[in-house]
């Protein structure tokens, strides 16, 4: 169990600097090794190219000093899923597909029926984890996958070349390819954007957007809104607040008190989705 520890009434410290720094340090050593090898035998060049810029597609961090009126200018969106409440009804999946005009097999939010090591069955809704250090973002050859200022991993379907390397890099099966010309379209012919990629585009990849088109207007994501069990919370690490609609909690306290975990923590991707396991669920698989 890997529980986020934080003092009450304090925002959980950002984690990515530490992890990014350590990863960077390691990779710098590797790069130095590669540079040495390359200079020794110029043929190793492409391996070094390997280590060039890293995630240059990350949206530049907006400087956030100075007063901002009303809502915070930026958020660090997270979701918290209370597995104790999920009964596997699948309404979140349906709402998500309706919102984004998806095909039936494009389950950007998929509810898995899993069996714990104790033998009990439980349900685990899986959406995109919007990892701090997203593997999909790193492997995208053309930078079609990027992070917006709120840390939400988005796909620019005008850029995507459909190589599917992000699908192989994602440890969470969270990415869905458009193998066919999409059949569902919004009634109003609006141009799809990374924030609201509807309709989907053939030959490109799509995934959960944390409904940034809703949250940017101060509305709840469709899965949060549609969950009859109120099991899904949308939160902000900076505001340290999360809400499932009726209930609003102090995020850090909520995570700590409920022993929240993140899925496949050992992969060091820094997921932005927390799970609260109740009775026997293997939240970490």
């Amino acid at each position: 169990m890997n529980v986020e520890q934080a003092e009450p009434l304090q925002v959980p410290p950002r984690e990515e600097p530490k992890r990014a720094l350590s990863r960077r340090a390691v990779l710098q050593s590797v790069a130095a090794l590669g540079a040495g090898a390359s200079l020794g035998g110029l043929g190793a060049a492409p391996q070094l190219v390997a280590l060039v810029k890293g995630l240059d597609r990350v949206a530049p961090a907006t400087p956030r000093s100075g007063p901002a009126a009303g809502m915070n200018a930026t958020r660090r969106w997270v979701m918290v899923i209370d597995l104790r409440r999920c009964d596997g009804c699948g309404k979140c999946t349906k709402a998500c597909q309706a919102t984004h005009y998806l095909e039936p097999d494009q389950t950007w939010l998929k509810v898995y029926k899993l069996k714990s090591s104790a033998g009990t069955e439980y349900f685990m809704p899986r959406l995109c984890m919007h990892c701090e250090d997203a593997p999909c973002l790193r492997v995208c050859p053309v930078g079609a996958t990027f992070k917006n200022a709120g840390g939400v991993v988005l796909v620019d379907q005008d850029k995507c070349i459909g190589c599917r390397l992000c699908m192989s890099a994602c440890p969470y099966e969270a990415r869905y390819f458009n193998w066919i010309e999409p059949t569902k379209r919004p009634p109003l012919a609006v141009l799809p954007t990374p924030e609201f990629p509807a309709p989907q585009r053939k030959g490109t990849v799509g995934k959960c957007t944390f409904c940034v088109h809703s949250t940017s207007h101060g509305e709840l994501p469709s899965c949060v809104e549609s969950c009859p069990m109120e099991a899904i919370y949308i939160g902000d690490l900076d505001a340290d607040v999360a809400t499932n609609g009726p209930q609003t909690v102090r995020l850090s306290t909520f995570l700590r008190d409920n022993h929240a975990t993140r899925y496949k923590e050992e992969l060091n991707t820094g997921p932005r989705v927390y799970y609260i396991a109740g009775h026997g669920e293997d939240a970490e698989r």
């Binding site: 009450p8 960077r24 710098q28 790069a31 907006t62 809502m71 915070n72 930026t74 509305e219 809400t243």
Partner: protein
């Protein structure tokens, strides 16, 4: 939006413990940081027998001290009363967030440290629960305009390696290409030029070969 001052009628059972809630004016007593606006005037809840007053006071950085004062009718402090605080904030809609609780001390003051994490108007509601009901309730309004503490940390762009790696890698790749092109150019130019020289009968450097033309 609620009225700024509100009194709650005490349940009958509570009437035997008259409380007077007095009002302090804290915002003016402590100078807040420049980018944090001080709270509005403290609001008073009043009742025939008791009063709960709540006030917010900027202390250090972005931290606010929320103080609730419980006094009886003779303005005497009432200790040992648990006050629960909640904040009504704007987070994807109007949300009410429990921010903690505190007990009044011998001076009748319950203090809660509050770190607002969102900008905007925060309605801080203090409640003195009693048995099944609420003994008294009152609220203060903070207007937070410059939340910087949790947000000011520079966001680290995720970067696999330092910026030097790009130029170095480009250099290595370019040198491989350069070497390949150099090989090509040297051969093309060399082979072409050698013939030109050889064609010149005056230059016998490549003596053997002038006769092969044609």
């Amino acid at each position: 939006m609620k009225a700024r001052g509100r009194s709650v009628r005490l349940p009958l059972a509570a009437a035997c413990v008259p409380l007077l809630l007095a009002l302090l004016s804290p915002a003016s007593t402590v100078a807040g940081p420049a980018d944090v606006s001080t709270g509005p005037p403290v609001l008073v809840g009043s009742h025939t027998h008791s009063e709960l007053a709540v006030a917010a006071r900027a202390v250090d950085g972005d931290t606010w001290a929320i103080e609730a004062h419980v006094r009886d009718v003779s303005s005497g402090p009432v200790g040992g009363v648990t006050i629960e605080f909640s904040a009504t904030i704007d987070f994807l809609g109007v949300r009410t967030l429990d921010i903690g609780s505190a007990r009044t001390d011998t001076s009748g003051t319950a203090t809660l440290t509050y770190l607002p994490t969102t900008n905007g108007v925060h309605h801080i509601v203090a409640r003195a629960p009693f048995d099944d009901g609420v003994l008294a309730s009152n609220e203060a309004v903070l207007e937070v305009t410059g939340v910087t503490q949790p947000l000011a940390r520079p966001a680290q762009p995720l970067q696999a390696v330092g910026a030097w790696a790009g130029p170095v890698a480009a250099l290595v790749v370019a040198s491989v290409w350069g070497l390949l092109v150099l090989v090509l150019v040297r051969v093309v130019v060399g082979i072409s030029r050698a013939t030109v020289v050889a064609r010149n009968p005056a230059d016998r450097r490549f003596g053997v070969s002038t006769d092969i033309e044609g």
